[in-house]
Amino acid sequence: GAGVSQSPSNKVTEKGKDVELRCDPISGHTALYWYRQSLGQGLEFLIYFQGNSAPDKSGLPSDRFSAERTGGSVSTLTIQRTQQEDSAVYLCASSSLPLAGGPKEQFFGPGTRLTVL
């Protein structure tokens, strides 16, 4: 049915607080991806999930960032002890697995705009 949804759409927090960002992928999509878009850094890959496992966590900027996915569906990106440099739009995408025939389109959600004061 619906596309990728993310919540909240906007989040303002104070430096040092923890935040949780949620992503609901398209139903049936096995793969889920997190990216960050900021003025200074452009679009950065953070992490992706194949089912509930994350083969590549190399994009997480620091150990303050973590992500999990349960039930092969919803994913949560958690940022602990937020810093001002964490301010960005966090984008989630989902796709089916590219088992054969080349890559599958990553469908992007609208993003969560995070502002750390």
Binding site: A31, Y33, Y35, G42, E44, F45, P98, G102, F108, G111
Partner: protein
Amino acid sequence: AQSVTQPDIHITVSEGASLELRCNYSYGATPYLFWYVQSPGQGLQLLLKYFSGDTLVQGIKGFEAEFKRSQSSFNLRKPSVHWSDAAEYFCAVGAKYPTDSWGKLQFGAGTQVVVTP
């Protein structure tokens, strides 16, 4: 490591004129290549993708791109732009499934396209 360069940060084009956006990639093997578009306040939308076969690929909204291995390029073209094509365009490279980093898209910095009457 894979990387993408979009040499033009900003392009202004007249409505009805042709458009070409440049993309150069660095990748050790045959890459998966993508062009995405992001309109103001909108999410990322896939225009087209390349992974093998015919080096000229057709996409949505009248866009096409040509893969040139010898030049490590994947330039996007449109013969006649419309005012609605004003947006930011991102080139991306991805790894082949099922390598460990297959889910990671490396994006270029983006090219902002302005369409004048």
